[in-house]
């Protein structure tokens, strides 16, 4: 079984995010970038399936400028077999990403596609769903458990009320939630091997996709600074403030 995993280059979760002074975007100049944590979980799941003998090949795909090859290499160091970069000038919005991925999937014909449920930069949580719609494939989103048996995928999903288990026909799309697994650390021999694993570069034109502007970024503003707290002298005062100042009760 071939598994295709998508990975996105995002700002490292340890970095304090800053907004550009003209409020046009987040400031990414010389900021540490990393593999999106949900994508890392997706890679881990695929590699585990390979180690368990269920999968035979794990292909990782990333879309973005050349620098996103770093994240492909990271995924290769975690155990994926080969990488595909779809070269774009900037990070594509979700629908464009889904369209590009749909073409790659048509070429690669994987039986399972594992994606992060969302990327921690834009937090959209929609590319997987869009891709499923474009490909008319079954989807199991927010997976906290994944089992593959007799040509079907059993996905336990984290939903508001608790857990829901769905069974999907393959090929299918699964998006990962945090509890699906705990990703490993890359081992030194695998980091060395990753250098030699194949990494193909394609352009949207190669895939016959024309990128369109479906939405426009108007402004980015940082959240308001948290005000310092105050001490209240009594419970009565607390209740009074909650009622009249915070207006929450």
């Amino acid at each position: 079984m071939k598994i295709l995993v998508t990975v996105k280059r995002v700002i490292d979760y340890n970095v304090k995010v800053r907004v550009k002074s003209d409020n046009t975007d987040v400031d990414l100049a010389n900021v540490k970038m990393a593999l999106n944590p949900f994508c890392e979980i997706a890679v881990e799941e695929a590699v585990r399936l390979k180690e368990a003998g269920v999968a035979t090949e794990v292909v990782v795909v990333s879309i973005g400028p050349k620098a996103c090859q770093e994240q492909i290499r990271t995924a290769l160091a975690l155990g994926a077999d080969r990488g595909i970069q779809i070269e774009t000038d900037s990070m594509p919005e979700s629908l464009n990403a889904a369209k590009l991925l749909a073409k790659v999937i048509a070429e690669e014909q994987p039986e399972l596609i594992v994606m992060g449920k969302q990327a921690i930069d834009s937090d959209n949580n929609q590319t997987g769903q869009m891709l499923a719609a474009l490909l008319d494939m079954p989807q199991g989103t927010f997976a906290s458990e994944l089992k593959l048996e007799s040509g079907k995928a059993q996905v336990t999903r984290e939903v508001d009320g608790g857990l829901q288990t769905v069974e999907l026909n393959l090929p299918a799309i699964v998006t990962t939630d945090l509890r699906l697994n705990e990703p490993r650390y890359a081992s030194l021999p695998n980091i060395m091997k990753a250098k030699r694993k194949p990494l193909a570069v394609k352009t949207p034109a190669d895939l016959g996709v024309e990128l369109k502007e479906h939405s426009k970024l108007i402004q980015v503003t940082p959240p308001a600074e948290r005000q310092a707290g105050i001490k209240v002298a009594s419970v009565d005062e607390l209740v009074e403030k909650l009622k009249n100042e915070a207006k929450v009760i």
Partner: protein, 590 residues
């Protein structure tokens, strides 16, 4: 407790810009290695260091190793972390390929080791000592010993120790008295060794002790000491650990710091004699130790950087969380805004960056020397006592500054600032005290070659002074003037020592420490000035670092030049006095 952020950007700056890793790998024909791979390796190691090892650092401090019936139990959590460390292949980084290593350059090993020691020095001592044992076996072991022990030592499946010190043999290893008696092809070892780091633990299925001992017919003194391998468990026919050897840990020392690292009193041969195997030739043990010394001593110097870096990060964090004083508008002032606190933070940052520049440069010279470069070989000899001596002494000051930034809370164990300070205190002691490093620098490394290696270094510093003074940048010109002053002072003192040491036998010992520290501040200041030149050049181009980092690099070099470079002059002045009054008082007046 304090979190740890691997300083990836500065590490990559030093590797790529100051040392020129790509050029070095080209020159040394290390086709597989380049700066891109190096940065991935350092980054991935940083994840394990900060997420797995760093949280265990205070655990080890509060729950040190314990011993019962000759067996040491390490701090809880260390064993799992060690398995992960080994499974991820980190122990193999610099080992030769034929024994399962990745054969990566020493300078890269150094950059990665910095992270292990910053995150958890007590833990990292264990793989550090294994690396020492590996070096000894590669350089001097027979093919048979290599085949039996190297693969498992390099993979980390077994660990190694260094058993040199005895109650009467510390700095003076010529006094070693442990016995080795031939018994067929092998030897029976008996005697007591003290202060043996990671001498016992339960993390691996075997421990390989390297032991210094004397043969019955050995000449007295330095020329009568041999080196032996004494495994905790003897190997069976298949090379697997089997019967227990006659060696055990009698007790553990109660220490000021590095509580997570068991410091063992080891007893060899309480019964029939521990079985040992001779490494290399008889009576050459001490000279073998010398061949491994550069690497071992540089590793301890590196620990000085590591622990100071961790302390610095903690200080930066705390000084933003602690508020003292108010602005006119009533808002509170974070102490990081007080000039004196800022001075301490800058002193730590500048000191750390100078140490990183020096430690990595010295490590890269070991790589070049290994590939036969003679100039690098003599530079390694000169650098090693400076890396070990100066960096571990500076670490005392910098970890103390972290305590000071914390104020009263620094003195309270809870914050963890005290741990770094206590842990750092061992560094100028083991692997040759500062006194021994200072004598090494002034004697074997300076007087012995009539100052040849020293003069080469001075010339290189002069070349940087010229570059700085001819620069278009006012900041660099200023830096050049300050470095030039310091260089002149150091040259004066160096020449004076070379001119006078032969006639005046007391001189060398009296001024050795000042000479060591003088050379440390000079080299550190020089390497930061060189970094500033690189940073200024990079600023003109499209680069991966960004203006804030590069400007900070230049300002940090300037701070070093203002704050630390004048110490070159002070030490130089002290040297020129000859410290004539050192022995002025009879012992009964002391």
């Amino acid at each position: 407790m304090s979190t740890y952020n691997p300083p990836l950007q500065d590490a990559s700056f030093v590797l790529d810009q100051l040392i020129g890793l790509d050029q070095m790998c080209n020159d040394l024909k290390l086709d597989e290695v380049n700066s891109e791979l190096a940065s991935v390796i350092v980054e991935e190691a940083g994840k394990l260091a900060s997420e797995v090892l760093a949280p265990l650092n205070s655990v080890g401090d509060q729950n040190g190793a314990t011993v019962s019936e000759g067996a040491v139990t390490e701090t809880q959590g260390f064993s799992d972390a060690y398995q992960q460390f080994v499974e991820n292949g980190w122990a193999t980084l610099t080992g030769p390929e034929e024994f399962g290593g990745q054969a990566l350059p020493n300078v890269l090993g150094t950059a990665v080791n910095e992270l292990w020691h910053s995150s958890n020095m007590a833990f990292a001592l264990c793989p550090m000592l294994s690396q020492g044992a590996v070096e000894a076996l590669i350089a001097h072991g027979s093919d048979e010993l290599k085949a039996q022990y190297l693969p498992q030592l390099i993979s980390g499946e077994w660990t190694g120790t260094m058993n040199l010190t005895e109650p009467n043999a510390g700095s003076d290893l010529a006094a070693v008295s442990a016995k080795a008696v031939p018994d067929g092809e092998q030897f029976r070892i008996s005697g007591q060794k003290i202060f043996i780091t990671w001498g016992d633990h339960q993390m691996t299925s075997n421990i390989v002790h390297l032991v210094l001992a004397r043969l019955p017919d050995a000449p007295a003194g330095v020329k009568g000491i041999s080196l032996f391998i004494v495994p905790k468990y003897l190997l069976d026919e298949q090379g697997q650990p089997a019967a227990q050897n006659d060696v055990s840990c009698v007790s553990l020392e109660h220490k000021m710091g590095i509580h997570g690292s068991p410091t063992c009193v080891m007893s060899f041969g309480d019964n029939e004699g521990a079985i040992g195997y001779l490494v290399g030739e008889a009576n050459k043990g001490l000279s073998y130790m010398f061949t491994m010394m550069n690497h071992a001593r540089q590793s301890v110097g590196l620990q000085g950087l590591s622990i100071s870096e961790r302390a610095y990060q903690q200080a930066v964090q705390y000084s933003q969380e602690r508020f003292q004083g108010s602005n006119r508008d009533g808002s509170k002032i974070a102490i990081i805004n007080h000039p004196d606190v800022r001075r301490m933070l800058m002193a730590m940052k500048a000191g750390n960056e100078a140490m990183r520049a020096l430690a990595y440069s010295a490590a890269a010279d070991i790589d070049r020397a290994h590939h036969g470069d003679a100039a690098s070989r003599s530079r390694v000899e000169l650098y090693t006592p400076i890396v070990k001596g100066w960096m571990t002494e500076l670490a005392q000051e910098l970890t103390s500054l972290n305590v000071q930034v914390h104020g009263g809370m620094g003195f309270i164990e809870e914050t963890g600032a005290a741990q770094h300070y206590r842990d750092a205190r061992i560094l100028p002691i083991y692997e040759g005290t500062t006194g021994i490093q200072a004598l090494d620098l002034i004697g074997r490394k300076t007087l012995f070659d009539n100052g040849t290696a020293l003069k080469h270094l001075q010339q290189e510093i002069q070349a940087s002074v010229d570059t700085l003074r001819n620069s278009e940048s006012e900041s660099l010109q200023q830096l050049g003037r300050k470095l030039e002053t310091a260089l002149k002072q150091a040259c004066n003192a160096g020449d004076w020592i070379l001119d006078n040491a032969a006639q005046d036998k007391e001189l060398m010992g009296n001024v050795s420490f000042d000479n060591l520290m003088m050379m440390g501040y000079l080299t550190g200041g020089w390497l930061l000035a060189k970094s500033a030149i690189q940073a200024e050049q990079l600023k003109q181009t499209d680069n991966a670092y960004g203006a804030p980092f590069l400007n900070a690099k230049i300002s940090t070099a300037q701070f070093f030049a203002d704050h630390y470079l004048p110490r070159v002059g002070q030490h130089s002045e002290t040297i020129l006095t000859g410290l004539r009054h050192t022995f002025a008082l009879d012992i009964d007046l002391l």
